[in-house]
Structure formats: C-alpha cells, structure tokens
Symmetry: C2
Subunit: 122 residues, 2 copies
C-alpha cells in the first residue's frame, strides 16, 4: 500500500469558483476529511447524529448559535456537538477542514436548495 | 451547552519543554484531537485497529514506511492506514494535530519507554 500525503493549499486551489464549495480530500476509518470554502450566510441546521469539527485555515468563520456566536479565526478549531443548532457565516470568507463521519449532510436535518446529495473528491 | 473554540497556537504554547509532548485538546464523538510536538526519531510501530491522521502545523514530519518515506510539511496532512508500520522522524521538529479514536496508544502495538499510559489535556 502506498500512502500519499495531501497538500491542503493545492486542494483549495482546485475548488471551483464561487462563494461555497466543499470537497472530499481524505478518509480516516469511516470519517471524511473535507475542505470547504464559504462566504455569506449559511442556513440554520443541526446534525442530530454526530459532532462536527471545523479547523479554520484562512479567514474567519462566525459560528452562530441560538444564544450567542463564536468567531473562529485561522489557526483555531471548533467542535459542534451533535444536535446543536448552528449557522455558519462569514463576511469575507473562510477556508476550513471539515471532519465528520461519512454520509453526513452539509445541511444536517434541513433539506434546502444548498443541500449537496453527494460530496465529490478533489 | 456552551461551545468553545480552541486556539491551537495557545495550546502549543502550553506544552511542556522538550522534544516530545502530546496532549488532548478536543473530542469529536469517540475521537480524540491531540496536539503533538516531536523532534528526533520515534519508534517503528503500527496501529492494528485504526487509521491515524497527522495535520502538520509547523516544521516537517518525515514519515518513514518500510519501503519508502514521505516528507510532510506545514499545511499538509497524511492518513496512516491501520496496520501499516511507520516511524515518524524530524530533524528540526514539527508540530501537528493528531486525530484518532479514543484510547489509541502513542506507540501502537509496541510497548516502549516512550509509551504514554494516559494522554493529559492541555
């Protein structure tokens, strides 16, 4: 078996243009490592079955919760506990590594026009 | 529930002096997020029960496999598949995020004087 490293800058550089894109970059057991770029206001949702981790690589993610918000900057991470409603926002955009089990929907318990049926590899 | 972010630079700054330290910084489901700093030659080992992920934050990790080696630099990551023998090395030292299930031994299937019985939080 040949084990290859993953260069995250290279992977971010291959994302399509636009304010939102998410792609798979690696698997660990039954967990996905994805890269995501996002600018704007996401939708309120939760993941009833799992925690979800964001590691911010560039920019600032404003993670809104119902009772408060947390600004997560490059070099910081946050674990969203399962079942906790959250709405990611970013005025200037952020790039992050997203870690969660396989098959988790990007919009969690909510179906929306931004729900992605199947995340592609990059 | 109050969800707190984690500042990785702050956490690295709290590691004890020396060439090797590993501490817990977060949990996601039954997985651990640890930070590790290491300089020198680790020991050959494998994790028969799980994959293991390194995200390099500073410096260069040389991941030795039996048939080759891979240099993993800051901004790169590598997933070591379960059961694959590996020996981390670093001439000048590296800092990384380490992600794996709870309870995984730092020396895997090998017991050694550097085996840590219980990883502490920082």
């Amino acid at each position: 078996m040949t084990v290859e490293k993953i260069n995250l800058s290279d992977k971010f550089g291959k994302l399509p243009a636009g304010d939102y894109a998410v792609r798979l970059v690696a698997k660990m057991n039954n967990y996905d490592f994805k890269i995501v770029k996002f600018k704007g206001d996401f939708i309120w949702h939760s993941h009833p079955e799992t925690d979800e981790t964001f590691i911010i690589m560039e920019g600032t993610l404003v993670m809104n919760f119902r009772e408060r918000k947390v600004e997560v900057h490059a070099g910081e991470m946050i674990v969203i506990p399962k079942g906790v409603e959250h709405k990611p926002s970013s005025e200037d955009g952020y790039r992050a590594i997203l870690i969660e089990p396989e098959g988790v929907s990007n919009t969690g318990d909510v179906r929306s026009e931004i729900t992605i049926e199947k995340i592609e590899w990059v």
